[in-house]
Symmetry: D2
Subunit: 359 residues, 4 copies
């Protein structure tokens, strides 16, 4: 040990730092303030992707790319420019638009990252989840929970484009990603579609004897007609500028999937929502209406099909120009499970420092 000591430490400060690096050590004191800032300094940038930009590119992908084993999906990932080239929308969330051509199908596989599909427009496609074919229509939310087999089928003559949300960045950061192709190209789905919605159709009823605390929601599709009615009722009952529901696991009231929070927000036209900030990020998909959001002092104008991301702890407020529904996927269940969640309402509208110019 004495020898080592002589070798390494009888040097000045710079050389000392070099000696540390040579031994795979790093000083904390030079980077403490960066590693432990007073408040989160997200790498995720507030950002927005235009439907009018994404849709033609998705269609062009439909012409250029064939779906097959290996590539698996024709997906355009919404890559946040703050994340150094990673195809992630925030530090924990993956948002993307997927294109499935007429009479096409996307092969069956499963993975530990959890995924959801949210439909902005189009109909006729179904996602088969563990053998249950889930029809997809505008405003519907379809779950493909962690490690469930899933494939997509489009028997129609029209291509369909929908939003994909995944916890892939989180699962990757946890080094917990497993993937397995299904033995066949596609699952054989039951002739009778949407079985899960029939078994959990009503409010607050559970087939007697069913597992009370399953790993993921036994309900795989949340229909827009139900969401729409719930938001309507909520707005009428409570008033205000915004009504919000969370999609939950009907068996135990937990979030629909352990790592992804799914929400729908209805904005009243002409009313500014309170300014809030929350630990954790949220990816919003504009299902209907138009308006603008101010995120950390930057103004984003949005309309149907646009996607925007709110980074962790960034103040955010919305104002709809016409009545609007925003779907959101968040990492809130993760932060709550780990006791790292915080939120606060700020007392005043934000000063708009700049306006986002979509690419």
């Amino acid at each position: 040990m004495a020898t080592h000591a002589r070798d390494t430490v009888e040097v000045g400060y710079d050389e000392f730092c070099g000696a540390l690096a040579a031994k795979d050590l790093q000083p904390l004191w030079t980077q403490a303030a960066r590693l432990m800032p007073p408040e989160p300094i997200p790498r995720t940038l507030p950002w927005l992707w235009k439907w009018t930009t994404v849709l033609p590119l998705a269609r062009r992908a439909g012409e250029l790319i064939t779906i097959e084993r290996g590539g698996e999906r024709r997906v355009l990932a919404l890559a946040n420019p703050g994340l150094g080239g990673l195809p992630y929308t925030s530090s924990t969330l993956w948002g993307a638009y997927q294109y499935l051509g007429a009479r096409e199908s996307a092969p069956a596989h499963r993975h530990t990252p959890s995924a959801l599909r949210f439909v902005v427009e189009g109909t006729g496609v179904w996602t088969t989840v563990d053998g249950d074919a889930c029809d997809m229509s505008p405003g519907d939310l379809v779950l493909t929970p962690s490690w469930t087999w899933h494939d997509h089928s489009n028997p129609t003559d029209t291509a369909m484009v929908w939003f994909d949300g995944l916890d892939l960045p989180l699962a990757a950061a946890l080094e917990a990603v497993f993937f397995e192709p299904y033995p066949e190209l596609m699952q054989v789905a039951a002739a009778d579609h949407n079985a899960s919605t029939r078994l959990h159709r009503g409010p607050a009823m559970r087939p007697l004897g069913e597992e009370p605390n399953p790993r993921h929601s036994p309900l795989l599709v949340y229909r827009y007609r139900d969401t729409d009615a719930a938001l309507d009722d909520l707005l009428r009952a409570r008033g205000g500028s915004i009504a919000s529901v969370e999609f939950v696991n009907p068996s135990n009231g937990a979030s629909a999937m352990p790592t992804l929070g799914c929400e729908m927000h209805r904005l009243v036209a002409g009313r500014r929502t309170p300014v809030c900030r929350r630990v954790g990020s949220a990816v919003h998909v504009v299902f209907s209406g138009s308006g603008s959001s101010v995120i950390a002092g930057e103004r984003f104008d949005w309309e149907r099909g646009d996607v925007f991301v709110v980074p962790s702890w960034a103040p955010v407020e919305h104002e709809a120009a016409e009545p609007a529904d925003l779907f959101a996927v968040t990492d809130r269940p993760v932060l709550q499970a780990l006791h790292l969640y915080r939120e606060e309402t700020l007392g005043h509208p934000q000063e708009v420092l700049r306006t986002f110019v979509p690419k």
Copy 2:
């Protein structure tokens, strides 16, 4: 101590037992087998009350009895003859029929026993629960959870009779009964009825930010149209002789109330259900159809409005003559919470030893 010893023990066995009794002591060895039987020996008897008997008596009560503070309710308790004169339907459950005359109301109060209302026939009455007026129609289940204010209003020209289920025998055995009259005769209900059903209308949606683990279900009414659809779907999906749903707290998937399990069972005509026995008792209300049940070897024929009780650990099987819906209130959540629940399916139909003759 020596003195005491001399006084008490220099006697023979009979005198010894007398000495014990004088000191408020009892020998276990003489009653061990009775206190600890191999299997539960319920005091509750399998029993049945006929709608055709109860209804005219309830109407007669309507003529004879006035509802006011003190008496509070015009209720006929279904008193199990095995329980030594107590007005209880089983050792843990209270079942009753309540009569509310035209243009009558039953005053507001609250109590720690949890209660439910199940409607066999009639409409137009509402139960106001903590200010939310819950309309009651055939097949609906209305909750008045522990310590919620509740009153009943009948603005119509027709009397109404419904089934009441309570955990009163349990709460009494636990010496945990509190009661409080409301300061006014009646609550002032919101003009807009059924608020709870609007906020929890859809399957598996929760207003964002709502308490995730409330003391009782925030949904106060479970509508028959939803129950009917769920049973229909369940029967189609799984087949068999019986479909069963449990009514749960939409916030956390727990039983609708912590001490009362609420279930609805749909029987297929002409199919005998498996023989089961369960720890804990169940009170069944025949909502529709007719048929018979064999309980501990005794046959009970039932039709709409009849109520029958299945004691703890008694083997039971049902057979509907025509398609039938049975509502059931049970103490299962209690037994499960205390880790005392068991159930088993027995392999063969029971031998019918006798047939119940209704009074």
Copy 3:
């Protein structure tokens, strides 16, 4: 139905009540105030049994009674005179003293009621629980959780007497009592006694991979030396007139058994504790010291080995004449699990209306 109606209701009020009784119906309106009192009116009476009375009777039982299959145990139940002749100490708890003679053993069996043993004096006996021999010494608490095999062995030349606490009245009220004799007279215990205490000896360590949420505590003995040290520390840290610990399941922090709360209280001499009342009953065993308690206005003087019971919602306060340790078994976990628990501290000492004269 019309016929029935004519038969039964064209009578006056008294006859109407008779008609109800004939049909196993009871009117609520005549007994509402008794069934639903403003506060619990326990049938359990505050009561006390003297060690100097029980011990000689237990010894006399040792001379008169042989332990064998069927009788199973030489137990003197502390029968509350408020409970109509039942051998129960409160409406939910069974307290008793058990006598095991020199070189005797009590046969192996199991039952769904949960039980505990608390040792006031003596040593050398062990209780074997699912094959693990648990040595019993003064101040120790030994669990025989629901449905675990257990027998008692006394290899010494001296008889031993200890306190038994069970939830038998509760399990009986729930009609959930099962009992099974062990195939042999006694279990074969491991040569190495007290295995459970070695695996859960330290504070807050769990063998890696062990079931995190077992049905009952994996720790079967709580040693007085640990309880003593914990109470000492607690009293020093927090001061006051009383220090109280609850014995918990080390795997999940729940009560040691789902239906029985186990507590030890250390009283400072000459200090009156606050007046409290709680829903649910508690049976106290005086382990050491002497003093008095005022329960619902009645004064009880106690010394080592005495047992007294506090009924539900009865105000209680203690005052030790010399430093005292009180073991208590309660039904609090039951009331908490069912959301029926309440407690309150009353602002002033009780007026002593009478003094209990022990039999």
Copy 4:
């Protein structure tokens, strides 16, 4: 939209990819296999840091660096060479050695990342956590849970070096890091040290009325003498090549902190442990003894004070040359909370492909 389409898609495939990049979009099909590998491909490398290397560098840091506000701590982070220059030991865990000179103190602050201190050698220093001074001795584990105030004091004439473990990489990935300096330089600690250990000293006792489900363990120090005894007992009771305990929250049996699993493993000399792999990483600190571990086919020889890291899903086995105790900090509670945990035991020893040469 048509215009956009003309602008962007009438190009070939390469140009199409360029068009995507220009719009912050990325194709999934080119990187699906990398993003979703069959099994986790951790960036974390199996690695080892030598105590004989770190200690002299830590001492040299003691000469060169002053501790003050801003730098806060004299810490050498163990930087995994697989993580691209980040000062992290694995993708989710921060491991480091901290040096505190004679008569020095490190200022009080708090942060949302949870931290632990594990002592390899030295004594006399304490860490004050929310006002409770926790003395640190060899083998002790001290918690500074998320958002608790903490500072370090060394009143002795000898410097001390200990291991720090944090969830900082995880909290950073979740963009959930908050930091706050204490208003004063140091907290005023209670004169009586180690209060938390006195209140939770015994096995399975909880002060009556204490919060049953606190955010973090109320016990802040786990003493080696308890750990030692528990491992000894466990090894004697169960045999085998390894005994392992997990440090838990005594209030609810959860992991000591929600994001960090803390374990101690005792290895029997000359016995090879089974080959296991687990999702999630573990940082091991050699507290005593010496031996070697094979991690993903690479052999690491270790002795007292060395630190090595096992990446996610890497097969690992240990063999002690002399009896050894390994402390481990893991992210297992995170993976379990998110339902992403898996583990498996592999049937055969690994082939050693290479041997790690420490720097």
